[in-house]
C-alpha cells in the first residue's frame, strides 16, 4: 500500500482512540454481562438467543453510530482545524487523503468489533457453558457487520466531502434506514408499472443493500449462512464502497478549499 495512505490511516486510527471512541467497549461489556446474568431470570429458554441477538445488534449499532459520527467529521474537521492545508501542502494527493481516512476509520471499527466479538463469545460461553461448532456462524454475522461498517464509512466520508457534519449525519443515517428496506424496495419495484417501476428499480439498486448483510437472526438459530452469500456480499460491499469512495474523491478533487 501507498506509504502516505498508510500514514493518514494510522493517524486517523490514533485520533479515534484519542477521541475515546473505544470507551464504547465499556458500555458494551456492561450490556453483555447484564444480559448474560439477567435474561435467564426474567425469560424462558432464550439465554443463548439473547446473548447472540443482543450482542450482534449492539456490535452493529455501536459501530454504525461510530462510523457515522466519526466519518462525517473526517474531512470537515480537518478543514475547520485547518490541518487539511498542512497535509495537502505536503506531497499528498487528495484521493490519498480520502483513501487514508477511509482505511483508518474502517481499521478502528475492525479493532472495536474484534474486542466486542471477544465479549460476545465470552458471554456465550458463560450462558451455554461451552461453545459449539454452530457458534462459528456468529463469526460470519460479525464479518457481515464489518462489511456494513465499510459501506457506512464510505457513505459518511462521501457526505463529509461536500456537506456540513449535521447534514452528513442525517444523509448517512437515512441511507442506512433506506438500505435496510432494500429488499422491500425491490419488491415494490417488481409490483409497480411504467415510470414508477423504472424509478423504483433504479432507487432499489442505487441505495446500499444493508438488509442482505443482516444474518443475526439466522445465526442465532444456528442456521448456516451459504458460502455463496458470503462471497457475493463481500464482492458487493467492495464494489459499492469503491463506487462511493470514487464519488467522494471526485467531489473532493474539485472542491475549492480556499
Amino acid at each position: 500500500m501507498n506509504a502516505r495512505i498508510l500514514h493518514i490511516a494510522t493517524n486517523t486510527f490514533r485520533e479515534a482512540v484519542r477521541d475515546r471512541v473505544l470507551y464504547n467497549l465499556i458500555a458494551f461489556a456492561l450490556l453483555m454481562s447484564a444480559a448474560a446474568v439477567l435474561v435467564g431470570q426474567i425469560s424462558i429458554h432464550i439465554e443463548k438467543l439473547v446473548v447472540i441477538n443482543l450482542g450482534l445488534t449492539a456490535v452493529s449499532l455501536f459501530g454504525i453510530v461510530i462510523a457515522v459520527f466519526i466519518g462525517i467529521g473526517l474531512v470537515s474537521k480537518e478543514i475547520d482545524k485547518r490541518t487539511l492545508y498542512t497535509v495537502l501542502s505536503r506531497p499528498v494527493r487528495r484521493w490519498e487523503f480520502i483513501a487514508g481516512k477511509f482505511l483508518g476509520l474502517a481499521g478502528t471499527l475492525v479493532v472495536n468489533t474484534f474486542f466486542m466479538a471477544i465479549g460476545v463469545f465470552a458471554a456465550l460461553a458463560y450462558v451455554s457453558h461451552h461453545l459449539e461448532s454452530a457458534d462459528l456462524g456468529v463469526l460470519v454475522a460479525l464479518y457481515f457487520i464489518v462489511l456494513q461498517f465499510v459501506m457506512i464509512t464510505a457513505l459518511a466520508l462521501l457526505f463529509s466531502s461536500f456537506s456540513t457534519p449535521i447534514f452528513s449525519a442525517i444523509f448517512a443515517f437515512w441511507l442506512f434506514v433506506i438500505g435496510s428496506f432494500a429488499q422491500d424496495l425491490r419488491n415494490f419495484a417488481a409490483m409497480a408499472h411504467g415510470i414508477t417501476r423504472f424509478l423504483a428499480t433504479a432507487a432499489a439498486y442505487l441505495v446500499p443493500n444493508f438488509s442482505a448483510l443482516n444474518v443475526i437472526s439466522q445465526v442465532a438459530h444456528g442456521e448456516p449462512v451459504p458460502h455463496r452469500l458470503i462471497l457475493l456480499n463481500t464482492t458487493y460491499v467492495l464494489v459499492y464502497s469503491a463506487a462511493v469512495l470514487s464519488g467522494a474523491v471526485l467531489i473532493f478533487e474539485r472542491r475549492n478549499l480556499k
Binding site: H45, I46, L49, V50, N53, L54, F210, S211, A220, H221
Partner: protein
C-alpha cells in the same frame, strides 16, 4: 481553590440528595393507583409494522417481546389470573418477528390453553399458535408433539393422533410418537393414555418446570386411579357388611386392605361419610379430577413442587 471545593461539595450533596429524593418519589408513584393500566396496552400491535420499524434487528425485538410475554403472564398469574387480554397479541408479535423462536410456541401454547384463572383458557388460539409453529418449523417434531397435546387436552383425539403421526414421520423424531399416534387413535380418553403422555413428557424434557408439571400430572393420574379403586373397595365392603366403613382402619382389620392407603406424596387418604375418598391436602396435588373435598376451589397458581 476554596470556592471550587465549595462548589464541588454543594454539587455532590445536591446530586446525592436529589437522587435519593427521586428514588423515594418513584416509590410513591408506584404505590399510587394507576389511572389506566399500561400493562393492558400495546402501543404497536401490528407485527408487520414492528418488523419494518426494527430495521432488520427483529431477532432481538422478538426476544424482548418474548420476555415481555413471560413477564406479563407471570405478573397476571401472581395477581391471581384474569383475562390475559394481551397474551395472544404478544405471542403473535413474538412469533411473527422470529418464526423460529421455539420456546414461544412450546410455552405460549401452554399459557394459552391453561384454563382460567391459571391461563388464558383459549385453546383455539393455542392451536393457531402451535400450528403456525409447525408451518414455520416443519422439521421440529417437538412442535407436533405440543400440538397433539393441545388436541388431546381438548379431547379431540382424532386430530391429536394425526399430529402425533405427522411428528413421528419427521427425521430424528422420538419413537414414542408412533406409539402415541396409535394409542391416541384407539384409546384417546384412557387414563393409561394420559399416563403415557405425561411419562413421555417427563422423560424427554430437560426443562425443570415442564418436568415438575408432568410429575404433578402423573401424581394426579395416580390419585384418580387410587381413589376410583379405593371407592370400589369401599362399595364392596358396604355390600358385605351392610354399612360404610367409618375409617380405613376398619377395612384393614377386616382384611379388605393391607394398610392405610397413601397418596403419591405419602399422605394418607381420608374416608368421608358416604364412602367418598379424598386426599388430605389437595393444594399439594393439583390437576385432580377425583378425591377433592366438596366445595374445594383450586389455587390460581398450581403447586408443582412437592417440597414443603
Amino acid at each position: 481553590m476554596i470556592r471550587s471545593r465549595q462548589v464541588t461539595a454543594i454539587a455532590s450533596t445536591v446530586l446525592v440528595c436529589s437522587m435519593a429524593m427521586a428514588a423515594l418519589l418513584l416509590r410513591k408513584v408506584d404505590e399510587a393507583p394507576p389511572a389506566a393500566s399500561l400493562q393492558q396496552m400495546l402501543y404497536i400491535s401490528s407485527p408487520k409494522l414492528l418488523k419494518r420499524l426494527c430495521l432488520g434487528y427483529e431477532g432481538l425485538l422478538a426476544d424482548i417481546y418474548w420476555t415481555r410475554t413471560v413477564q406479563y403472564f407471570g405478573s397476571k398469574h401472581r395477581q391471581g389470573g384474569g383475562t390475559y387480554k394481551l397474551l395472544w397479541p404478544l405471542l403473535n408479535i413474538t412469533t411473527q418477528l422470529d418464526p423460529h423462536l421455539i420456546p414461544a410456541y412450546e410455552f405460549g401454547g401452554t399459557f394459552l390453553i391453561a384454563k382460567q384463572p391459571q391461563g388464558a383458557g383459549d385453546p383455539g388460539k393455542a392451536i393457531e399458535l402451535v400450528q403456525y409453529g409447525t408451518q414455520m418449523n416443519p422439521n421440529d417434531w417437538h412442535l407436533f408433539y405440543d400440538l397433539a397435546f393441545i388436541y388431546y387436552d381438548q379431547k379431540d383425539y382424532r386430530h391429536a393422533a394425526d399430529a402425533f403421526l405427522r411428528g413421528s414421520q419427521l427425521p430424528n423424531a422420538h419413537p414414542f410418537l408412533k406409539i402415541m399416534a396409535a394409542q391416541m387413535a384407539q384409546h384417546g380418553g384412557d387414563l393409561k393414555t394420559a399416563r403415557m403422555m405425561w411419562s413421555a413428557t417427563y422423560q424427554t424434557t430437560h426443562d425443570k418446570m415442564i418436568q415438575a408439571n408432568a410429575a404433578a400430572h402423573l401424581r394426579a393420574i395416580q390419585v384418580d386411579e387410587d381413589v376410583a379403586a379405593i371407592e370400589q373397595l369401599v362399595q364392596t365392603y358396604r355390600h358385605r357388611t351392610g354399612h360404610f366403613p367409618q375409617t380405613f382402619s376398619e377395612m384393614v382389620s377386616s382384611n379388605f386392605i393391607h394398610g392405610i392407603p397413601l397418596d403419591p406424596l405419602g399422605h394418607p387418604y381420608r374416608l368421608e361419610a358416604g364412602g367418598r375418598v379424598i386426599v388430605s391436602d389437595p393444594d399439594d396435588l393439583p390437576f385432580l379430577n377425583q378425591g377433592l373435598p366438596s366445595g374445594y376451589v383450586s389455587k390460581a397458581v398450581p403447586k408443582l413442587s412437592t417440597a414443603n
